[in-house]
Symmetry: C2
Subunit: 335 residues, 2 copies
């Protein structure tokens, strides 16, 4: 089934079931008022939610027209947001960028950072930044939303906890990365509120494209309508989702509603921007700039500025976009 959180004037929004083709929705609040509540009581509510989804898709319930701009973040505030870095080519490219830590790449264990989760952005919310001179960047990712995971869980147990799949924009202020890392306490100011897709889907919605560990397809990113990247989500993913989850649970329990990001999706190639319709490209600007510097000794793709638009969507192998699109505009905070 496919779910969304609709704006209703409350902090946590209202849970809705969305039809498979994303054309219609019906409210699910009689079963669970919010997505967090549904995740807290998943064993109890997943069957009735699923039954409602079947009715909506069959047309037994007509529903109302769905529009992604009605959505908030699936979890407008979450208790846990962890962002991993599973695609090594992203790390390789970013680590050579100015201001990044020149540590050896760790390939034995996945690395991940603790994200802030109290003000997550919806798919169509503006990216509000204090200043657009901060090298504003996007990072296109896949993310999974979990049921509870016990400390020390193995990958098999972790796999069972995957409830929902969505897309993510891990907004980054590159100019603040060096400052954050110099402090030695990790990312903080450089990683403001992240954004999530309009739809969260249960793994079964993806058919064979979801093998329990990775999702097969492409993640397309566009800036002001220009294709910046469409790397394959199943290629070059050094650590799969169950491995990432197990790593996150090494020293802690993870609560229901934990969101875990894949890290910026990236495939190895030697392209630079612009790319053609069959290019691979990049899921963030800093990678594109690093490739430009390597090839031309100069980075030319600019970071995001006031009014720039970023769009991210997951492209399935059948050519559809089954979990909708993130489409955001950069806005500078007014004094």
């Amino acid at each position: 089934m496919k779910l969304a959180t609709l704006r209703n004037g409350t902090i946590d929004g209202q849970l809705a079931i969305v039809s498979t083709d994303l054309s219609r929705f019906t409210q699910a609040s009689a079963i669970a008022p919010t997505l967090q509540d549904a995740l807290d009581r998943w064993d109890e509510v997943s069957t009735p939610l699923s039954a409602l989804s079947v009715k909506l898709n069959k047309g037994d319930i007509s529903g109302k027209p769905f529009d992604a701009s009605m959505t908030m973040s699936p979890l407008p505030r979450a208790y846990q947001w962890i962002d991993a870095s599973a695609y090594m080519s992203h790390l390789e490219r970013v680590r050579t960028a100015v201001g990044s830590k020149d540590a050896e790449l760790q390939t034995a264990r996945p690395i991940m950072y603790q994200g802030g989760s109290d003000t997550l952005l919806g798919a169509h919310d503006d990216i509000v930044v204090p200043d657009d001179e901060l090298a504003v960047d996007f990072e296109a990712e896949l993310a999974v939303i979990l049921g509870p995971v016990s400390m020390g869980a193995n990958a098999e147990e972790a796999e069972q906890a995957i409830r929902l799949i969505t897309i993510c924009n891990d907004v980054s202020l590159r100019r603040l990365v060096a400052d954050d890392l110099q402090g030695g306490f990790g990312f903080f100011h450089a990683k403001p509120s992240s954004s999530f897709g309009p739809i969260v889907a249960t793994p079964d919605e993806f058919g064979a494209a979801w093998d329990g560990k990775k999702l097969t397809g492409k993640l397309q990113s566009r800036v002001n309508g220009v294709l910046y990247g469409q790397p394959s989500t199943h290629i070059d993913m050094l650590f799969d989702f169950p491995q990432l989850i197990a790593e996150a649970a090494r020293t802690r329990n993870l609560s229901a509603g934990t969101i875990l990001g894949s890290g910026t999706v990236a495939n190895t190639h030697d392209e630079i921007l612009p790319i053609g319709s069959d290019g691979i490209g990049f899921s963030c600007i800093v990678e594109a700039r690093t490739a430009e510097k390597a090839k031309n000794e100069k980075a030319t793709t600019p970071f995001l500025k006031q009014s720039d638009k970023v769009a991210i969507r997951f492209l399935a192998e059948d050519g559809t976009f089954p979990i909708g699109e993130i489409s955001q505009t950069v806005t500078v905070l007014e004094d």
Copy 2:
């Protein structure tokens, strides 16, 4: 007023008002079922909660006997937990410890890390660790719980957002610090679930000891009944709470229920353990060990092991402990 979250079989517990002398409580769930709900609707509920507190303290409501072991973390799961490092002598000592980053101390801006907040521990909950060979340590801190803070808020605005004050144990696995920092993404595995005091109190409960920016008093830490430290909370705090909050809000909004920690409370001195009843000592073990190495070339105070007990309490100038005690036992996770 003083509030607590009582265990009632739910994830988020039940809100209670506790008498000023911590002897009695009355349920507040008719006004707000949980502390998070109260913080979400503070303007609406703080007056009735306060009226209930007055009645309880006057004896108009008899209440029931209060016992800190009935409490969960004030917010058993929170949307935001930020831990700062406001006491420079902690940073100075820790940064010379093995495995820590040898960066220059930053004194122009406070540094802070993004904590995980989905599984916070109550004052009497066990500290469950995967292995007690991980150099298990405590960090005794003060913490404030906030109303909403807008991105770019100044210190004056930040001060107005301080709703509640409590104590904290920022549990740390020192052996994992170097690993985390080498990854370049900041603390993750080294900072599992933190613990919070049994009581949260509004600032007015502290009288003149709270000046809107800092709390005057001492934070006592004991390990297995032995006094390890009692530094003054108002001394050597380079950045006060409003400054810490404003820094945290530089690139993001903070939501209601944000918890912000002071960092390990520390005063400058040249003591080592054991300390006498008038000593200052340390609010964590790694600092005590660093001082031992500097003085004797060898660290002798051990990290925490299975069954060790850590107790932390705030001592007011009148000799009382107005917000109760954290009292936890280290337990190794069973296979």
